[in-house]
């Protein structure tokens, strides 16, 4: 297939907001997405990032045909999403982290039977695909438990299996790891990596989690107030905004502010110098070099490294663009 799996051209979406009541009712237009243009090739893994209200969900709704663009053009899997919503639904799988596509009072197995039927999967195809997903997402223990009794982590795994049951060309995950504990997130990422390694499913992922982006995607698109703010690799973004890592050192005894360590910037001194925070840009120096320099000045009892979080990177990007 030569056509990209998603292509958006000058994509915009306005919302009409009414405020006040009666005669004082005012109509104002908010632009949720403005002139977005990007293409995603089949097989890519793209992180779609932005602050709350940046237009991520609006974009996803336009890509899946649940929302019509105010202007511009979008094609998903070679189709006009709004006009061919149902046909498109057979070729994509979507997980909205906050919504469920499972039947609340029935076990997962029943939902899968229903989804297989609406996706016209034969009994054998269903069994084969379901067994694979059950095994790899470890759903076996609760396949017959009503969905309402599942934990969040179990339910999300169930949702992802539901979205992948019909082996879609494109998998769209809208904040899939939201609310999950560290272990559940990690298992989910592991699964997604395996899934992408064994099939050529294209992945579009919105998330607030830096680790999701780092582990799962090879390209990120950042939106800010509906506008494209960045399109490229995560490393490129970090380079561009200089996302610093922070080394926090706990010292054995009080020390003078460590404001002369090469390649770092002193962020703060706590407890009379017992704890100091140094920021450094990956590439210009290394954690080991910083530690060696600090150790030369004072004896280090403990240290932690804080990775830049996605919020922080995005905030810097927003600030640099403004």
């Amino acid at each position: 297939m030569t056509e990209p799996i998603i292509s958006a051209t000058d994509l915009s979406r306005d919302f009409v907001v009414h405020t006040g009541r009666g005669l004082r009712r005012r109509r104002s237009v908010t632009r949720a997405v403005a002139d977005l243009a990007f293409t995603i090739e089949a097989g890519a893994a793209v992180g779609y990032i932005g602050a709350n209200g940046a237009g991520k969900s609006t974009t996803i709704k336009m890509l899946t045909g649940i929302l019509v663009p105010t202007s511009g053009r979008v094609r998903t899997c070679g189709l006009d999403p709004h006009r061919h919503r149902r046909e498109l639904a057979r070729r994509i799988g979507v997980v909205f982290g906050q919504r469920s596509q499972l039947w609340w009072d029935l076990p997962l197995s029943e939902s899968y039977r229903a989804l297989a039927a609406i996706h016209r999967l034969g009994p054998q195809a269903l069994r084969a695909r379901r067994d694979t997903l059950v095994e790899r997402l470890d759903l076996g223990d609760f396949l017959e438990t009503p969905v309402r009794q599942l934990s969040l982590g179990q339910r999300i795994r169930g949702e992802i299996a539901a979205a992948l049951l019909h082996s879609p060309d494109l998998l769209i995950l809208d904040e899939p790891t939201i609310g999950l504990d560290v272990l559940s997130k990690e298992r989910l990422r592991q699964f997604l990596l395996e899934e992408r390694a064994t099939s050529d499913t294209t992945l579009l992922l919105t998330t607030h989690d830096m680790d999701d982006v780092q582990r799962l995607t090879d390209r990120i698109i950042v939106v800010d107030h509906g506008r494209m703010a960045y399109d490229g690799t995560l490393a490129g973004l970090v380079r561009r905004v200089g996302a610093d890592r922070v080394i926090v050192v706990d010292l054995e005894e009080n020390a003078a502010p460590l404001d002369d360590v090469a390649g770092t910037r002193l962020l703060g001194v706590e407890a009379d110098g017992l704890r100091q925070r140094l920021a450094f840009t990956p590439g210009s120096t290394t954690a080991a070099a910083v530690l060696a320099q600090v150790s030369a000045r004072a004896s280090v009892r403990d240290l932690t490294i804080e990775e830049p979080d996605i919020e922080d990177v995005v905030r810097r990007l927003y600030a640099s663009g403004a």
Partner: protein, 264 residues
């Protein structure tokens, strides 16, 4: 298996998951049946032994059949769809490769099929023991009755579907639901048979789909309407079912357009 058949199966299983609720519903229907049979028989006695063609036994039978059918036909409310519209979960329904109205109708027929026996049999059993039932001896009224009850479920679904669609435009549905509940329960013949209505109320009822939900199937099962008359009633039900489903489709399209094009 076709997707709609699977949806009907889902409807059945969703409701069969709550067995104690079905039992409680059947118990309530039976208790209210006792009260309604007594009042109906009392009214017929006060009218001199017959009232609009009902004697004490057929009057009681009417009350018991009504109690048996209100569960499966569901003349009460259902707000699942309105809830999904309000929360935005309707987007999930829109993003599925199945027609939403057909899917929900299939699931509702599955629900009705499940409820037919657990909600229908107990009131009839209590009725048979307490007042006796006047039911036809031949098979035809029951066969036509089954068709009529199925159509009644479709008409009831089509009405509830329309009522739920109000959620596309209204934030608060309690007013609409209450109005619907009062109108449907009175005009379908749940309180007293439609045949007892004064002419002006009977005229109003005849212009609504509500008698097609309860009065018609009961008339057919009891053999009050037989031969061509039964088929006229069935025809009326078909007309209401098709008409309301078509209106429901159009209104859904307009509502979905509001969500999809205007954005809620």
């Amino acid at each position: 298996m076709s997707a709609l058949a699977v949806y009907a199966g889902l409807g059945w299983r969703r409701w069969s998951a709550y067995r104690s609720a079905a039992a409680a519903g059947a118990f309530t229907n039976s208790v209210f049946g006792l009260i309604k049979a007594a009042i109906t028989m009392g009214a017929i006695g006060a009218a001199g032994g017959t009232l609009a063609g009902y004697d004490a036994l057929t009057g009681a039978t009417y009350a018991w059949l009504a109690q048996a059918l209100i569960g499966p036909v569901n003349v009460f409310t259902w707000t699942e769809l309105a809830e999904r519209i309000r929360t935005g979960d309707i987007a999930i329904d829109l993003a599925r490769p199945i027609d939403p109205q057909a899917g929900y109708l299939a699931a509702d027929l599955g629900r009705a099929a499940f409820q037919l026996l657990p909600r229908g049999a107990p009131p009839l059993l209590v009725g048979a023991l307490v007042t006796g039932l006047a039911l036809p001896a031949e098979a035809l009224p029951y066969l036509l009755g089954l068709v009529s009850v199925t159509l009644a479920v479709v008409v009831s679904f089509a009405c509830r579907w329309l009522m739920n669609l109000a959620a596309f435009w209204l934030l608060e549905l309690r007013g609409v639901t209450t109005l619907y509940l009062v109108a449907s329960n009175l005009l379908c013949g749940l309180v007293v048979p439609v045949h007892w209505f004064p002419p002006w109320l009977a005229t109003i009822a005849a212009w609504t789909p509500f008698p097609a939900m309860l009065q018609h199937p009961i008339d057919i099962i009891m053999g009050r309407a037989d031969g061509p008359e039964a088929f006229i009633l069935l025809g009326e039900q078909v007309a209401w079912a098709i008409g309301l489903l078509v209106i429901g489709r159009v209104v859904f399209e307009v509502g979905a357009r509001k969500v999809v094009v205007q954005g809620g």
